[in-house]
Amino acid sequence: MKLVVAVIKPFKVDDVKAAVQELGMQGLTMTEVQGYGRQRGHTEVYRGAEYTVDFVPKIKLEVICEDGEATSVAERIIAVARTGKIGDGKVWITPIDDVWRIRTGEAGSDAL
């Protein structure tokens, strides 16, 4: 089992979700995160005091899938989430020892 993690631009969530679904994945988990990287943040001004905010809102998606599916899921996300502008984000894959579905207790592939 693998966990594919993607940090993407927020407005790409629906497209990526649809794309992942098309590949047959039945679910995913999404988290609101703040990203720091090459993409510049912004400046805020309150009564003359200027604050630089370096973090940019991003969405983190996590998809658990079979070992064999991981790369294709990652590639699909990369294709769909791309705008070509700085800050499009990252995708990475980490190993998973085991996974269970809480409702049934099923493990492994059956848990997905």
């Binding site: 407005f11 912004h42 400046t43 805020e44 001004v45 309150y46």
Partner: protein
């Protein structure tokens, strides 16, 4: 001129109440946009209090109420000259003339503020400043003159508008449509969901609007008398009935009565009763409100049918609600409520004459306001560097950050 302290107090209070409606409107609209545009919306509204008030003192009041031309005022009161002691021609006031100026100022402020709901989330603040200036002087003041000034042609005709059905709601509503046609739709509309970000904020605004509307409508009696009372009662009952009818329609069509629907219905009723407030009585306000609630509920679908992004339904609620009220007044206007009525409504036995006059003024307002607004905004789009609309990136990032360098909420620091 006899000054009555009771009447003066009532109009002082009414002026304060109408002033309070602009912050109320800001919150009403502000809660409905997405979080990243909330300050942009609040700012466009609050800014009306700043800019229009000064313009009104400088020239707007005079253009609306100076002189006795049928189409537009003059500069007799410009810079508030004489405005402290001299009432506009044709008014027999029991309040200090300057108070009349102040009371009308609050109407001049809120009318263009209504437009902001239609153009939400995509106009450059700079463009709004210019639009506001020109619209206020070139559209609001003349139309106010037609209808509110005793020398105005609509007023002379015998058409009725107690507190601004044409001057305020139809005027702002059709101007909103013109702006939307030039600005275009928000990115992603109508496919991308754009849910209200803070409905409790919208409900605060609704409460303030309802409260302030008593000043708007009952204050238009310009005295603390039976007419003011009738107007207050009409205002309240129409809002109540429209809330109910909107919710019934909504429930029937989509299965749920929504909070935003309750607020929207109430505002629709308030809009429709505005022209009628001092001219109808008995259960008529309930009927007018109930009709307006249903009509506006279905009217907000027009934008989907004709694919124009009237973001917060200024056309559906203010334009259509205002027309509904103005025309229903042609049916319900009742001399026993207000002896100042020249031609009674159809149901009061006055025949179709008033309906016809109402229609004439509605159409004239629609035509003038639409064309002038179109002209203004097209010229601005040409003349202003960057045009009237924000860039795609700025729209995505939000008006708050890009126009004002602020964010609405930082709840986690």
């Amino acid at each position: 001129m006899h000054i009555d302290s009771g009447d003066t107090t009532w109009v002082l209070v009414a002026a304060a109440l109408v002033m309070f409606m602009t912050p109320g409107l800001a919150l009403f609209y502000g809660g409905m946009v997405r979080a990243k545009h909330v300050l942009g919306m609040l700012m466009q509204n609050f800014f009306c209090l700043g800019l229009v008030s000064v313009l009104w003192a400088a020239a707007g009041y005079s253009l609306a109420f100076g002189g006795d031309n049928a189409f537009v005022g003059n500069f007799a009161f410009a810079g508030l000259h004489h405005a402290v002691r001299v009432a506009p021609a044709g008014f027999a006031l029991t309040i200090p003339p300057l108070l009349f100026m102040a009371y009308q100022m609050m109407f001049a402020v809120i009318t263009p503020a209504l437009i902001t709901g239609a153009i939400a989330d995509r106009m450059r603040f700079n463009a709004w400043v210019w639009l506001l200036t020109l619209w206020s002087l070139l559209v609001y003041s003349p139309v106010a003159h037609w209808v509110f000034s005793p020398s105005g042609w609509a007023n002379r005709l015998g058409a009725l508008d107690f507190a601004g059905g044409t001057v305020v709601h139809i005027n702002a509503g059709i101007a909103a449509l013109a702006c939307v046609l030039v600005l275009g739709r928000r990115q992603g509309w109508p496919n991308r969901p754009m849910p209200p970000h803070n409905l409790p904020l919208t409900m605060i605004g609704t409460g303030i609007l309802w409260f302030g509307w008593f000043g708007f409508n009952a204050g238009s009696a310009l005295a603390a008398n039976g007419l003011a009372v009738q107007a207050l009662v009409n205002t309240h009952l129409a809002a109540a009935a429209a809330m109910l009818s909107w919710l019934v329609a909504e429930r029937a069509k989509q299965g749920h009565a929504t909070t935003l629907g309750a607020a929207s219905g109430a505002v629709a009723g308030l809009v429709a009763i505005t022209p009628c407030a001092g001219y109808v009585g008995g259960m008529a306000p309930i009927l007018i409100g109930a009709i307006a609630g249903i009509v506006c509920f279905f009217a907000i679908d027009l934008k989907h049918r004709f694919s124009f992004d009237d973001s917060l339904d200024v056309v559906g609620v203010h334009l259509i609600g205002g027309i509904t009220g103005s025309l229903l007044l042609g049916l319900f206007a009742d001399k026993s409520v207000n002896p100042a009525i020249v031609h009674e409504g159809l149901f009061a036995g006055g025949g179709v004459r008033l309906v016809w006059f109402q229609l004439v003024v509605v159409v004239a307002t629609l035509a003038y306001s639409f064309l002038m607004t179109m002209l203004i905004i097209k010229v601005l789009d040409k003349v202003l560097p960057g045009g009237v609309r924000v860039t795609e990136e700025d729209e995505e990032a939000g008006l708050d950050l890009t126009q004002h360098s602020e964010v609405g909420y930082s709840l986690l620091t």
